[in-house]
């Protein structure tokens, strides 16, 4: 416990940024996020964009898995639905980008509602299986519903336009990603401290008790699925517009696992954790890439090892975190903070 930390009202207790120090530090960080692209090269900006997409999807999945306790092994499929919907709205219906993106999200939310229906009947392991199956079924439709998705050739998407301004470089796109990510985070953080968020947590902790206390499981479970898929759909749409092409290969089962890994490594049931997890799981492969790249000069064989080595590290990270730190990076962060707050008298 921190010294002299008492609150006089619930509103104070529920504040997101509790001290002046945190507010200043968030402000400084925000300014840094705004300024750093001026000095960064395109590769760093590319990674920054990828982190943004990952953060959006991870926050969405954390709302479903971390807060509501419903496992989804098919989140990449929702991102795919959002991405495809966004691309089709832009190319076929000539919708403006700013409108197509949320519409793509809504289509993904509808897909999430449909996949969420089994969660009303089965849970735990069986829900895992249902979402896993839905991942493969959606992939099948991406490939074989050719009249809509153009099959494996994919759909080319023009760069997003707002008014007459085109987001066609990494730098300009970065600001777009940043804006959407911040919106997603603000909404997510506020959602989980509202009535809806508390209902989610109640369902996670004991669904029968929640039902008895008057929380409609039907309504809130489906809400969680819809919100979570909306996030995934928006992340998918943003990603597709960034790549300017969408093919079925962009949304494999592996991506679903990656999203879950972000949520677990970051910390289940913590918005901050989702950010940590998304940043961490996006950066680790890139760091590995640099390391094997440097090793290649010494051992020429190292270059070929990069892709399998990435898998080994990725898989081991999941296992190691689940065994040694099941509450993820968010818990490590909390411990570090507590150490400095209480130093030197930790008892």
């Amino acid at each position: 416990m921190r010294c002299a930390d008492f609150k006089e009202s619930y509103i104070k207790d529920e504040e997101i940024f509790q001290s002046l120090f945190v507010k200043v530090w968030i402000g400084v960080f925000f300014v840094f996020l705004l300024v750093f692209p001026v000095f960064a090269d395109p590769y760093v900006l590319y990674i920054a964009n990828m982190i943004g997409f990952a953060v959006i999807a991870a926050v969405g999945l954390n709302i479903l898995t971390g807060f509501t306790g419903q496992i989804s092994l098919g989140h990449a499929a929702f991102a795919g639905v959002g991405g495809y919907a966004c691309a089709i709205f832009i190319t076929r219906l000539n919708m403006p980008f700013w409108f197509a993106l949320p519409c793509g999200g809504f289509v993904a939310a509808i897909a999430g509602l449909i996949i969420g229906i089994p969660s009303l009947r089965v849970k735990g392991l069986y829900l895992c299986m249902a979402t896993l199956a839905s991942q493969f079924i959606f992939e099948f439709f991406f490939i074989h519903w050719e009249s809509l998705t153009k099959g494996i050739r994919g759909i080319n998407v023009p760069p997003p336009m707002i008014g007459s301004f085109a987001f066609d470089t990494e730098k300009s796109y970065y600001y777009l990603t940043l804006a959407v990510t911040i919106l997603a985070l603000v909404y997510g953080r506020n959602l989980v401290r509202s009535r809806v968020g508390r209902a989610f947590v109640a369902i996670r902790d004991r669904d029968l008790a929640a039902e008895i206390m008057g929380i409609s499981l039907f309504r809130y479970k489906l809400t969680a699925f819809a919100i979570s898929s909306f996030y995934a759909g928006v992340a998918g749409g943003l990603w597709v517009c960034f790549l300017r092409i969408v093919t079925p290969e962009h949304f494999p089962f592996h991506l679903s696992i990656q999203y879950l890994a972000m949520v677990i490594v970051g910390g289940l049931g913590s918005i901050l954790g989702s950010i940590f997890g998304a940043v961490f799981m996006t950066l680790v492969p890139e760091i590995l890439n640099v390391v094997t790249g440097n090793l290649r000069d010494i051992f020429p064989a190292a270059g070929k090892l990069f892709i399998p080595l990435k898998d080994v590290v990725f898989g081991s990270l999941i296992v190691i975190f689940l065994i040694f730190e099941p509450r993820g990076l968010a818990e490590i962060w909390r411990r570090i903070k507590a150490f400095f707050l209480l130093w030197p008298f930790s008892y």
């Binding site: 895992c128 299986m129 074989h144 879950l260 677990i264 898998d311 081991s316 689940l322």
Partner: protein, 294 residues
């Protein structure tokens, strides 16, 4: 009509292999309540180990086969001791994610050791197809089916008659009662993982023999989920029967629905079936009906 019979025979033969792999899932689930999503990676590893014994070390097939089985047992014991024992009683998401992480790491390691190239298995069985009079069974399918059947019969007899098999069933039934009867539950857990790995390794060898080996052959492991859900997660009979049903349905779907959807139905059909079963009868044909409803 001819083609229908041919498809049915192919379905039964692949179904046998599915049944064998499904056994690997069921053996582990019965004892430890963990669904081992790393089964696909186990299969790939088994096929590659057997391949190394045969091709690089020039072992005769029986020696290579036994060598592979020994590796399976060792792998099962090591993984159980190091990783999976810590997970007993953890929430389902942790357990599922650990086995998935394990699968990804193992697949990466397999690629590092053996590279991702496609290889054809050395010829270990006589290549003549079996002529049934009204139809012909290709050699690969035939031997795959024989191996799968032998594996199933072995496990069925083992659980029925051997002391270890009975104590494994007892552990699955009630851990505390088993403990008080002097059964070492820890040893049973390690054994279950060894047996699960064993079934997956044999499945890998059989599939490798049928269609060659590459690191992507593990994808079949996910299809087999449909088999175990259909048969019931904790039922050996269910796994075997479910294997045949899914094998036949998948091939029939490939025959009749592929022209409509333009291919690929065979791969996704088990997942459709999986969703349908989950909606209608989540505990499967023979599973224990203890699923918690909300």
């Amino acid at each position: 009509m001819d083609i229908l019979i041919q498809i049915l025979i192919t379905g039964i033969a692949t179904g046998g292999v599915y049944g064998l792999i499904a056994l690997g899932f069921v053996l582990i689930y019965k004892a430890t309540s963990i669904v081992n999503l790393a089964t696909g990676a186990f299969m790939t590893l088994g096929a590659f180990i057997c391949f190394t014994f045969l091709d690089n070390l020039k072992f005769p097939f029986w020696a290579a086969f036994i060598g592979t089985l020994v590796c399976a047992v060792l792998l099962g014991i090591i993984l159980e001791r190091l990783i999976l024992r810590q997970l007993i009683g953890e929430p389902i998401i942790s357990v599922v994610m650990v086995t998935i992480g394990l699968a990804i790491a193992m697949q990466g390691l397999t690629t590092i050791i053996w590279s991702s190239e496609y290889r054809s298995f050395p010829e270990i069985f006589p290549p003549d197809p079996l002529d049934l009079g009204f139809s012909v069974v290709p050699s690969g399918l035939l031997w795959g089916f024989i191996f799968a059947l032998a594996g199933m019969i072995f496990f069925l007899l083992f659980f029925k008659f051997s002391r270890t098999g009975v104590s494994m069933r007892a552990t699955a039934n009630d851990q505390q009662a088993a403990l008080s009867m002097g059964i070492s539950v820890r040893r049973i857990f390690a054994l279950s993982w060894s047996f699960g790995a064993l079934a997956a390794f044999v499945g890998g060898i059989v599939i490798g023999n049928m269609s060659g080996i590459s690191i992507y052959m593990g994808d079949i492991g996910l299809k087999v989920l449909a088999v175990i859900i259909l048969g019931g997660l904790d039922s050996i009979t269910g796994a075997i029967l479910g294997g045949f049903i899914i094998g036949i349905l998948e091939n029939l779907a490939g025959l009749y629905l592929d022209p409509i959807f333009g291919g690929g139905v065979k791969g996704v059909a088990p997942f459709f079936i999986l969703v349908v079963i989950l909606m209608i009868r989540p505990y499967g044909l023979f599973g224990k009906e203890e699923i918690e409803r909300v």
